[in-house]
């Protein structure tokens, strides 16, 4: 389970992309709930990369459907870089 701090940081980064003001939770999905197209998701990922100073390869994107998925991936990448 992703840590709360990571989740909160990601919520903040999503806010400018959350045009419809959908309430954000770990299980919120990018495609269905937030209605973000794949290009927008990639732009969001770029913001997350710069915030955490990590690389999130495009290869991972198909598996990152919810905010929790992204937070877990971020935590794992940060830990691996340790």
């Amino acid at each position: 389970m992703a840590n709360a701090e990571t989740l909160n940081t990601i919520y903040e980064l999503i806010t400018p992309f959350n045009k419809k003001g959908i309430e954000l939770a770990p299980e919120t999905t990018f495609a269905t709930n937030l209605e973000l197209d794949s290009l927008t998701v990639m732009d969001l990922v770029a913001e997350i990369e710069d915030e955490f100073d990590i690389v999130i390869p495009l290869n991972l994107l198909p598996d990152l459907e919810t905010i929790a998925h992204v937070a877990d991936a971020v935590d794992k990448i940060v830990a691996d870089n340790g």
Binding site: D37, L39, M42, D43, V45, A46, E49, D50, D53, I54, V55, P57, L58, N59
Partner: protein, 404 residues
């Protein structure tokens, strides 16, 4: 379960567009009058969206060479480049391109799409990193998807964003940075010096796609890398014959001593038939012609600046501040108005490309014009005039430039 059900959202999206009198997905050119004019649906139309930048499609020498090749070598090779599909003409074309770029080696592919697909899918392997500009062409993204490298995307034309990502990667890992000279939708040029210098600082190899810049950028028409003087920082240059060269096909040039091995590992090179001899012959003559075409280049730039200035002064919202290429794009506020605009413009006798927000960088709706060296100044003025009249017709609010 109908396998086509998954396309329903796209079908719905497409049928929601309010086209009534013309459909941009169903344009048929019934007669090609010249490089710049065609008959479409019985209407005499100025072509301002065909990527025929240097207007080489009817270049006399190229047409003659193609006819002779048809007579001498037949209609096709019926074979792969690595089996029976390499004729003397293919080797001569590769030599012509290597000489044109002042590089050691050249590989000719059957399309530009396959050139990118072939190189990008194999150059960066399983343990390597592929760094792509966010606005990369589909052929680059598809090459990345076909290969096994870890794919990292940086912000469009942003050397800082590229550097941040390069810095985060293992120092000793293999890296390939892929950029384009001119980006095809907005027609914006890349800051190649900054991008390539950063790539080299981190030991990456570099691939520059000059598909939309070959012919008119640089003293010899080799592209943006030539114009800026950074060809020495480009390990691979990829291009196409389907734009300035006026036919179809793709190529890659390089000075890498082991370049030739790619012929036996690039699947999009091997598992398809080679270009027909007539296409090879016309491409060769056209490239020789492009090298000498200083006047055409100058006229193309004049045309591009004239169209950009004309539309800008009329109050259109331009995709780029100034003409950075012969791609001159106008931004429309929404898809509905873009649809109406495109439709009225083609009825008024001007063909441009419509690009909807979901297919463009930054999600803008574009009327994308691409200008030809063979357009006359009068044709450019006609295009501007018809853009203005079309804006009135569809109630597009133009900015009052004089008031600013």
């Amino acid at each position: 379960m109908d396998l086509f059900d998954k396309f329903d959202p796209i079908v719905a999206q497409k049928s929601a567009l309010p086209f009534t009198k013309a459909d941009p997905f169903k344009v048929v050119m019934d007669e090609i009058i010249s490089e710049t004019e065609a008959m479409i649906n019985g209407r005499h139309t100025i072509l301002a969206g065909t990527n025929n930048y240097m207007g080489m499609t009817f270049a006399e020498e190229a047409v003659e060479a193609a006819k002779k090749a048809l007579d001498d070598f037949g209609t096709g090779t019926t074979g792969s480049r690595v089996l029976n599909g390499t004729y003397g003409g293919h080797k001569a074309l590769e030599q012509t391109l290597a000489d044109f770029y002042g590089m050691e080696s050249c590989m000719v592919f059957s399309t530009g799409y396959q050139a990118n697909l072939g190189l990008i899918s194999v150059l960066a392997g399983k343990d390597d990193y592929l760094l792509l500009d966010a606005d990369s062409h589909a052929s680059i993204y598809d090459g990345a998807a076909m290969g096994n490298a870890t794919v990292v995307r940086f912000k469009h034309n942003d050397a800082d964003s590229l550097e941040k990502r390069l810095r985060r990667l293992p120092e000793d890992a293999g890296k390939l940075v892929v950029v384009e000279g001119i980006y095809s939708m907005l027609g914006d040029a890349a800051p190649l010096k900054e991008l390539l210098e950063v790539a080299k600082k981190y030991g990456a190899m570099t691939l520059v796609d000059e598909a939309h810049s070959m012919g008119f950028c640089g003293e010899n028409g080799r592209g943006v890398a030539e114009e800026i003087g950074v060809e020495h920082l480009s390990d691979f240059i990829v291009g196409t014959f389907s734009k300035s060269v006026g036919t179809v096909g793709g190529f890659a040039v390089s000075n890498h001593p082991k370049f030739d091995i790619l012929r036996t590992v690039c699947r999009p090179y091997m598992f398809t038939a080679s270009l027909p001899p007539s296409v090879v012959a016309s491409a060769t003559k056209s490239i020789e012609g492009i090298k000498r075409a200083g006047n055409r280049r100058a006229h193309l730039w004049e045309n591009s600046k004239r169209l950009h200035a004309g539309l800008k002064n009329a109050g259109f919202t331009m995709a780029t501040e100034k003409a950075e290429s012969p791609i001159i794009a106008v931004c429309l506020p929404d898809l509905h108005q873009a649809t109406l605009f495109w439709e009225e413009l083609i009825l008024a006798g001007v063909y441009v490309n419509m690009a909807a927000a979901f297919a463009t960088p930054g999600g803008v709706n574009l009327m994308r014009a691409s200008i030809c060296a063979q357009h006359t100044s009068e044709q450019i003025d006609l295009i501007i005039d018809r853009f203005i009249k079309t804006a009135e017709k569809v109630d597009l609010q133009l900015t009052d430039v004089a008031a600013e």
